[in-house]
Subunit: 187 residues, 4 copies
């Protein structure tokens, strides 16, 4: 979720006409309004459309810890949600991931991240973010970018196991359970 880092690594550390903000402007905006986010839960599906595996990245989370997490990031000024979903999937999973963003614009849930961990159970120390969450089948090959240390696939049972949950922070383990329930695969 470290879109500040992402912007910097892309050399976009100054405000542009395309929705990027300088770090300073982003900080001040974050203190004023909720930020629009998208979360994408990468999945593998079989020929019947059933989810067989869930993909998770290992990377530095918003709270500074090294965590397992789904694809997540900010929507830019002027950007369609679909464009943001594809951009973040390709940035985090590689250009060959071939994400299949669902045709329905309605997310399976809305995740409300607050700086106060007790407000909703979803926590982000940096800001109040309203994130539209989608289950995104991945048809291609994933290759985590340099920001992520690892990208791994888990069966539904593994994804809700104690060991994997212990590697997640900020409520991402609960997001995984909501996604599995949505697709009828919550154990």
């Amino acid at each position: 979720m470290s879109d500040v880092t992402s912007e910097t690594e892309n050399g976009l550390d100054t405000e542009t006409a395309h929705g990027w903000l300088s770090n300073q402007d982003l900080q001040s905006t974050r203190a004023r309004v909720p930020i629009v986010y998208v979360d994408a839960v990468p999945v593998r599906v079989n020929s019947l459309g059933q989810v067989t595996e869930i993909g998770m990245l290992l990377r530095q989370a918003a709270d500074g810890t090294l965590s397992r997490m789904v694809v997540s990031g900010r929507v830019l000024f002027g950007e369609l949600l679909r464009e943001a979903l594809v951009r973040h999937c390709e940035k985090d999973l590689g250009e060959l991931a071939l994400p299949r963003v669902p045709p329905n614009p309605s997310p399976f849930t809305i995740v409300e991240y607050f700086p106060d961990p007790d407000r909703s159970g979803f926590y982000d120390p940096r800001h109040h973010a309203v994130s539209m969450a989608y289950v995104v089948p991945i048809e291609g090959d994933c290759e985590p970018t340099q920001e992520a240390l690892d990208m791994a696939w888990y069966s539904p049972e593994e994804a809700v196991s104690t060991g994997v949950i212990a590697e997640m922070t900020g409520g991402h383990d609960r997001l995984i359970r909501l996604a599995l329930a949505h697709v009828g695969r919550l154990p």
Copy 2:
């Protein structure tokens, strides 16, 4: 929706252990309980997941007319909904259609077909059918089977045009509008 025809043409005019019924048993069952159906609205999507076209078959409808319609058919005893969706898509669109049944089991709407045309606006003279309707992206090539005279793709604007609506019966034109609304593409 002529699953009677389909069963007969497949040589399955006697009851088997796999959920097929003889025509006589099917008739008597149809007079007693609602029949479980699935409707699949075939769509083409672009790389952002937006629906660009809707596919419709030209074939004999339940009321005997030659009509434009989506893929529709009965769920058999012991069959998963997903299996029925893939089976009917492959039967109507060909083996190379590559339907992408969505991972979420919840349909975008439920179509309640009644022998009384005024009951719900969805009409089937043969029975009371409860149909779970899905939008199904098609990635492969479609080739209508011998039951269908034609299979054509329409833009969202064409699909709701007066001319195309006039070719549909039984409420299928309304089903198309509900599907387009669900994917945010209703003009």
Copy 3:
């Protein structure tokens, strides 16, 4: 889910024009086609619409055990799903329950009950049932009918606790978790 019992207790043990079947006809139909069902998960909501409690009945389940379960029952020939939902809620929770069936016809999930416990994880020894499941806010007072021994409300945390799960059979504990996930309240 014992709609056979219900029909008998209402004195409707012979086939009528209104969709009721004799026990014998129901048995033979059940062996031939999937049966259309509705499941209603009764909930209490606060003024913001958040689910605060889930209601469960204690009654004889399809497998003969005494179990905790949600409202569940068959859709009759000629009956709208909405009519079936209200009928079963009033039959199981009393005339003063005031169920608020959601305006959206799409269920939050589809539960496929099979006589084979391993087919989908949802089990019913009597038949293959395809059940459309809804979360139904209850605004009135509940009074379990004579078929149910008890009706109790549980917090989301209690509803997924080991003790309560142990009182459920046939996959109803999983249905509760899917319902809680749908409303964003899965712990």
Copy 4:
């Protein structure tokens, strides 16, 4: 959608700790990031949960015209979506409206308003807003506030009639059709 007006009329024209922004800060923020909005389509439902009427306000729209529109407004920093929905419903429909915000947090659609009318078909000259849209049953009495000149209820047929559509701008007529489709009542 004139939340600037609303804030001013409530005497909140200076930034506070509760998420309100001064007009100047709001302007500068609007040029930088998408703004989080909620849209509520007020409906009347019958005892089966079917939508019988849709409510629309007559008020000054974002583009300055006097238009028919649904309840719509900004989500404040630190505010839950549910709190924003109830706040805007009560502000626009009166304290006695008794809005029933659905228990499911997932909106029926996402409306992406852009300053460019051709970007998505939803237009707002002031900003890029990402609005989560909900169908909200209203159980109480509505009394439009001083900002609205009128509040009226329409049948589904009236709501999509040429006359009523002509009174709407910015894509609100399309939003009404999407809402009617979602609840299965699109004519």
